[in-house]
């Protein structure tokens, strides 16, 4: 019983420790983000995003600001992609290395490249291309599994490795072998395209706004201002020697415009009151 309780406690401690955010040791207390000040729901109301960091200890710190782009307009595409991504983690057979090595992937490419920011049309195109690729990839995997099953059924052996002499095969057997190889090649090409397109697809939801910039203090502080920042969601990412130290997620809301609207409203109301007063006086 005692052993069970100790094991349970140990397990719980392990789970909680895994849930804690991970910080690089050498950056603990080395800096402090003084501004932006995050209000309720991590909101920052401003026109110019002022970043003010107090540096207590100089470490090779780098800062990057990315804008988290809103979901692309076609929600159906996004939903389909999400479903396909979930189902792609299927159990695939372990393939012979020789079979994999036979496929030449050096010429595989995609029509898009990784950029700091994309136009709205381009984002939509990439999302649709990614969806098509995911569907093709899934079809290719299903096709490969079928071809693989046929191949294994025909040439199953307990031995670790089976050598097949093509010249001794019947027409049907040759068809099965070629079908397997073609399905494997098709799947691997699509997988390679997927590896190339996936980071591009992911990047359409994050636009690089600033950085990566070395955080070097001037008079104890590092300061910079992102002028005329667009309202939206952002991530302020800190890295130490390439290791992620901290990510601050927040939302920027336009401040002065709201204030101006209030003032304009006040002025309009004041004018209306004056008109009412003048009308009453005329009576």
């Amino acid at each position: 019983m005692f052993k069970r309780v100790v094991a349970l406690l140990f397990g719980l401690v392990l789970i909680f420790s895994m849930m804690l955010p991970v910080f690089a040791n050498d950056s603990d207390g080395a800096y402090e983000v003084v501004e932006p000040m995050f209000g309720n729901n991590n909101e920052v109301i401003t026109k110019n995003l002022f970043i003010n960091i107090r540096i207590y200890e100089e470490i090779p710190l780098e800062m990057t600001l990315v804008r988290v782009e809103p979901n692309i307009a076609n929600a159906v595409v996004r939903e389909k992609i999400s479903t396909l991504e979930d189902s792609s983690a299927r159990m695939m057979p372990i393939l012979e290395i020789e079979d994999v090595d036979e496929v030449d992937l050096s010429e595989v490419s995609v029509a898009y490249e990784l950029k700091d920011m994309y136009e709205e049309d381009e984002r939509r195109e990439i999302a649709e291309a990614y969806l098509t690729l995911l569907q093709d990839k899934q079809n290719a995997e299903e096709e490969f599994i079928r071809a693989y099953d046929r191949y294994r059924e025909l040439f199953y052996s307990d031995e670790l490795k089976t050598f097949i002499e093509l010249e001794n095969l019947s027409y049907y057997e040759l068809e099965v072998v070629n079908g397997y190889k073609k399905a494997l090649e098709n799947m691997m090409v699509l997988n390679q395209q997927y590896e190339l397109l996936k980071p591009i697809y992911e990047s359409i939801f994050e636009t690089l706004v600033f950085g990566p910039e070395a955080v070097v203090p001037e008079l104890l502080f590092y300061r910079t201002t992102i002028e005329d920042i667009k309202p939206g969601s952002y991530k302020l990412i800190f890295e130490n020697d390439g290791d992620l130290v901290e990510t601050k997620e927040f939302t920027v809301k336009a401040g002065l415009e709201e204030e101006k609207l209030k003032q304009d409203t006040k002025e309009i109301l004041s004018n209306v009151n004056n008109v009412i007063k003048e009308t009453e006086e005329d009576k």
Binding site: E32, V34, N52, L256
Partner: protein, 507 residues
């Protein structure tokens, strides 16, 4: 007989001629001749608008939420100042004065408001004198004020303050004036350079208890890029090195010495500067090769002078300025000092001007002032003028695409010079253990001493006589720095601790 008679007539004629010539000579030496440059109090109306001459040095618009901007546009400055000068006389005559505490004043500063910093301390009685308004007695009216504050949240109040004296009060008017809100709204709708208070940048969150006891600095510095500031090609008022200026030189000579040019000596200095001395050194006019015009007069024992008020003296000074060449439209009174001795009262009026919205400061002039006039009672006894006239703007965006350097970068990049002067001003001995603060405390103290940050044009006749250089002017403790806006280089360092005594000697 005839010969003797002829001799007698000739002698008599010579005696008469001698009497006539002596009379003429004496007439030219009497104080009446001085009236050619002396301006009588009864005839002192200057064509310069005195409401433009009494003009704040800094205009700051607060948008609320800790966001400010420094106003450099001549048009916006004029609108704000016209509004103040429009309502101030009425407020002064009604004199509904209320004293507030510093906390309330600071709270008003943080609202949507406009702060005006005066170039020197003036009392409300001085303003009353200028606007010819009489107020009831109140002890605060004689106190010097340094800042005027109007807020869109209190549109029928004008706040005044003097931080040195810890005095804060406001005058209340009968009606609210919504013009201020309109000005602030228009300013916020246009692109502007955002400024923050230094103590909001050195946030209390980021100061540890052991670093510094308290940090307060209401000075504002820019946090967003400022617009490109061009160099300005300029020309001198008078160039003594060229022959064709002879007629202009004569104009100045007539202005200084009157029509009689019999007793003028001309001295030419090695660099080409010309000095003209009248009589036995009673008056002197110097036309410097660097464009400076300076005039001095020794006051005679027989000269009768009368004491004048601040306003009367200012009128005399302005009238005098108008006599020496053209006067910049943006001329404003930037400093004023009074010294009394046993016999006379010396009043020094210092003036500056703006070119393309920015104040121009001149190297090696007291406070960088372009014009200085010293009155001994009502007589001008010293005058210097060194102004430049706009020729054209020189675009700098291709040379310095990064734009102007920020204030912290200026201090950081010139930390050796700044710390050396800071130690000197605060009598900090680096070898002294007690003064050996932690580096963070030391830097925070420097930032706490930062004041009067201003974007200006700098004129260095030695460095570049023909161009105005965009410069940041700022004070740290008792030292004033001029930094090149684009390179961040130090252009000039001067001490500002104690005001210099009014000097009548030529520098």
């Amino acid at each position: 007989m005839n010969k003797e008679f002829f001799k007698s007539v000739l002698l008599a004629g010579l005696i008469v001629l001698t009497v006539v010539m002596t009379k003429n000579l004496l007439a030219s030496k009497t104080p009446d001749a001085v009236t050619t440059i002396e301006v009588s109090i009864t005839d002192n109306e200057s064509s310069l608008n005195i409401e433009r001459i009494i003009y704040p040095q800094d205009f700051i618009i607060g948008f609320g939420g800790g966001s400010y901007t420094g106003v450099y546009s001549e048009e916006t400055r004029d609108k704000i100042w016209n509004l103040i000068t429009d309502i101030l006389p009425a407020y002064l005559s009604q004199l509904n004065l209320e004293v507030v505490d510093e906390e309330e004043f600071r709270a008003i500063e943080k609202t949507r408001s406009v702060q005006l910093r005066l170039p020197f301390s003036m009392s409300l009685n001085d303003f009353g004198d200028v606007y010819q308004v009489e107020s009831d007695y109140h002890e605060f009216l004689n106190n010097p004020i340094k800042k005027i504050l109007v807020s869109s949240s209190q549109q029928n109040r004008i706040y005044f303050s003097n931080d040195d004296l810890k005095q804060y009060f406001y005058l209340k008017g009968a009606l609210e004036d919504e013009r201020l809100s309109t000005i602030i709204n228009k300013a916020s709708a246009l692109p502007f350079t955002e400024y923050r208070r230094v103590d909001s940048l050195i946030n209390f969150k980021a100061i540890k208890e052991d670093e510094v006891q308290s940090f307060h600095n209401e000075e504002i510095i820019p946090i967003t890029s400022t617009k490109e500031i061009p160099f300005i090609k300029v020309t001198k008022e008078i160039d003594v090195s060229t022959e064709y200026q002879d007629s202009e030189v004569k104009t100045f000579l007539i202005k200084a010495f009157g029509n009689s040019t019999d007793f003028i000596k001309r001295l030419e200095e090695i660099d080409g500067s010309q000095t003209y001395i009248y009589g036995y050194g009673d008056k002197a006019l110097r036309l410097g090769v660097g464009g400076e015009i300076s005039y001095q007069e020794k006051i005679q024992a027989s000269t009768e002078t009368n004491a004048v008020s601040f306003k009367e003296g200012l009128d005399i000074a302005l009238k005098f300025i108008e006599g020496y060449g053209n006067t910049p439209n943006s001329l404003y009174l930037s400093d004023y000092q009074v010294v009394k001795n046993d016999v006379h009262e010396l009043k020094a009026y210092y003036f500056d001007y703006r070119v393309r919205d920015l104040n121009v400061y001149t190297k090696n002039k007291q406070g960088g002032h372009a014009l200085e006039i010293v009155l001994t009672d009502d007589l001008v006894t010293k005058f210097t003028k060194n102004v430049r006239w706009y020729v054209k703007s020189i675009n700098t965006s291709e040379i310095w695409s990064e734009g102007p350097v920020f204030i912290e970068t200026l201090i950081n990049n010139n930390f050796d010079i700044v710390s050396q002067n800071f130690n000197q001003d605060n009598k900090i001995n680096v070898m002294d253990g007690e003064s050996n603060w932690r580096m963070t405390t030391y830097v925070l103290r420097i930032m706490q001493s930062l004041r009067n940050v201003e974007l200006t044009y700098y004129l260095d006749s030695e460095l570049d006589n023909e161009r105005l250089i965009p410069a940041w002017r700022l004070d740290i403790a008792d030292t004033r720095y001029y930094f090149h806006v684009y390179t961040g280089d130090v252009l000039q360092v001067e001490k500002i601790g104690e005001p210099k005594e009014i000097s009548l000697s030529r520098r």
